[in-house]
């Protein structure tokens, strides 16, 4: 008698979202199985990886985090190029830290001009994160959307306080967006429902907030896991957006990651691998070595 393993067929499918356009286009999501249940179907797209670039030279990074990038840490365009050409990043995540109103408060125009320069220099899609300041992000991300018209950047974070304003401009100029809620499945769903009233669901990526190992990673894991179950098993249309795990910054701000090179790299790699297991579709990392490690695991 031949043994046939029991195979579950699920009702739901995660939406496929395209980042970038033309030759740059990169698809994420699209799976109709739970994370790693490869025996039950196929993933439409493998998990993707973006490396971080900052718009301002990092002031407090340990040497082992600066070392791989060398001089380009003061030059976002070449930093981004290096991540793609030397380290094989599949996307770049530009963090607009300088626009923080409590910090340098760089103008929206200046930030948008830089985003355009970085985007023009790349042949991979660009993700752009504001600082999370609900007011400043409206100004900055709206300007970015306008200046990079129809480039289909992935812009975020959209919060419950500002999703309408940023969503409207992003849609007008042909971009995709990141809906962010604070590690809470109910608030995640609420934001998606509200955003979807004025924004197409197939251009939304969920950011559940990804905490680092030892700092609440298990909460992020649980939320991602539940969102995937609701999307795939229970066919909940408001949970069927792909998930971004923006974890680099969260890992490298821990004292453990700052304590030593190897430990830091492992801290980021373990966090990334865990959230990958939970079901994240695209992960944002900082150190090229941790990216390499995780990529090796994924490639088997």
């Amino acid at each position: 008698m031949i043994y046939h393993p029991p195979i579950e067929v699920y009702a739901g499918r995660v939406r496929e979202v395209v980042l970038g356009r033309g030759n740059k286009a990169l698809k994420i999501g699209g799976e109709n199985i739970l994370p790693l249940h490869l025996f039950e179907g196929s993933v439409a797209n493998p998990p993707r990886f973006a490396l971080e670039v900052y718009d301002v030279e990092p002031a407090d990074w340990p040497d082992w985090l600066l070392e791989p990038f060398g001089e380009v840490v003061s030059d976002p365009v070449n930093w981004a190029r290096k991540c793609v050409n030397d380290f094989g990043a599949e996307a770049i995540c530009l963090q607009l830290e300088s626009t923080d109103p409590a910090g340098e408060a760089v103008s929206a125009e200046q930030a948008a001009a830089l985003v355009k320069k970085v985007n023009d220099a790349l042949d991979v899609p660009l993700i752009v994160y504001g600082t999370g300041d609900e007011k400043a992000d409206v100004r900055v991300l709206s300007k970015v959307a306008e200046v990079c018209d129809s480039e289909n950047l992935l812009l975020g974070p959209l919060l419950k306080e500002n999703y309408e304003e940023i969503g409207k401009v992003a849609l007008e100029h042909g971009h995709s967006v990141i809906a962010q809620s604070p590690v809470d499945i109910n608030l995640m769903k609420e934001l998606n429902i509200k955003l979807c009233k004025s924004f197409p669901a197939n251009k939304i990526v969920i950011d559940p907030v990804s905490s680092g190992l030892g700092y609440g990673m298990e909460y992020s894991f649980t939320i991602i896991e539940r969102a995937k179950q609701l999307a795939v098993i229970f066919k909940d249309g408001m949970m069927q957006m792909p998930i971004i795990a923006n974890l680099g910054g969260e890992c490298w701000k821990t004292k453990e990651a700052k304590a030593g090179r190897e430990q830091g790299i492992l801290w980021e790699a373990i966090t990334a691998t865990s959230l990958l297991l939970a079901g994240a579709n695209i992960l944002v990392l900082r150190h090229p070595e941790s990216y390499k490690l995780v990529k090796e695991i994924v490639s088997g």
Binding site: I185, N186, L187, M188, K189, E190, I193, K194, K197, L230, F234, D236, M238, M239
Partner: protein, 290 residues
């Protein structure tokens, strides 16, 4: 269903001020406003200062205005006994539980005054996490109460309902609990803090959650709820004046395939709410907007 009006509650700022200053007017207005209920609940909260005196003042104040029986709601056994002594009609002791202090101090009061008593599933380690542990806890405590001489007929069991925004799964589990209760402990009654289901939900949306869950509880055999007596639609539902709404909610519970398109906005909202409470949809504050 028996309704215990919850509106005289320390959590209301006006109530707490009136209690503190011993001003009867607002309290008596609230007592009179709760016309369609079977009991008036007097919730004192922790009552740290002069608990016995506050409870006695409250009982007298309410009894001057209303003839309804009272449900005395405090964790403080001294306040409880002081209040019980003054009740003109057979009151409800709200509440005892499986906590050691409650077994030792509250349950004996129910026996001493030969009154009805609410017993919740709480234990020394908190609220049991699932149906099985709720059952285990309540059987223990009811057995203990029986040994003290309190008959099942005087016991109102409270499974402790958590907000749907906190733990959606247990909202359904509580319905299960209510259904099997008569087999577990024949003769006991059931009671529940209904408004708990909507705690944390934006104020304008709380009512429909409360009302929908009340209907679901009724179908499961619930005996009584502690509820917002000023919610007119809740009272009407309980009186059987809105049978179409009740049918729709029952339909969701029976997994009938309901077509939303022919329904009014209000009917659709009840169907959506029942679906969320049955766990068919993950809860969010925007559940009516889908």
């Amino acid at each position: 269903m028996i309704i215990i009006g919850e509106n005289i509650h320390i959590i209301s700022k006006a109530v707490s001020e009136a209690m503190y200053k011993r001003e009867p007017q607002h309290i008596q207005e609230l007592a009179l406003a709760q016309v369609d209920v079977d009991y008036i609940d007097l919730n004192l909260g922790p009552a740290r200062k002069n608990p016995a005196e506050v409870m006695q003042w409250l009982v007298n104040t309410v009894q001057e205005a209303s003839d309804l029986p009272l449900s005395l709601d405090t964790m403080n056994h001294i306040a409880m006994e002081a209040g019980l002594k003054l009740c003109k009609k057979r009151p409800l002791l709200n509440s005892a539980s499986g906590r050691t202090d409650s077994k030792e101090l509250m349950l004996p009061l129910a026996k001493k005054y030969s009154i009805d008593v609410v017993i919740s599933v709480l234990t020394d380690i908190g609220c049991p996490p699932d149906v099985d542990s709720r059952i285990e806890s309540i059987i223990d405590t009811v057995t203990y109460a029986n040994e003290l001489g309190i008959p099942n007929e005087d016991i109102w069991v409270d499974p402790i309902l958590l907000p749907v925004s906190v733990d959606q799964r247990q909202v359904m589990e509580v319905l299960e609990f209510v259904k099997i209760l008569p087999e577990l402990l024949p003769g006991v009654k059931s009671v529940i803090g209904l408004s708990n289901v909507s705690n944390g939900t934006p104020q304008p949306l709380r009512g429909i959650l409360n009302r929908t869950y009340m209907v679901m509880l009724a179908k499961s055999g619930q005996y009584s709820v502690i509820a917002d007596a000023l919610d007119e639609e809740l009272i009407r539902l309980n009186r059987g004046e809105l049978p179409n709404i009740v049918d729709l909610i029952y339909g969701v519970m029976d997994e009938e395939n309901l077509e939303l398109s022919g329904l009014s906005q209000k009917e659709r909202d009840y169907v959506k709410t029942a679906r969320v409470l049955m766990g068919g949809e993950i809860y969010s504050h925007a559940w009516l907007e889908v």
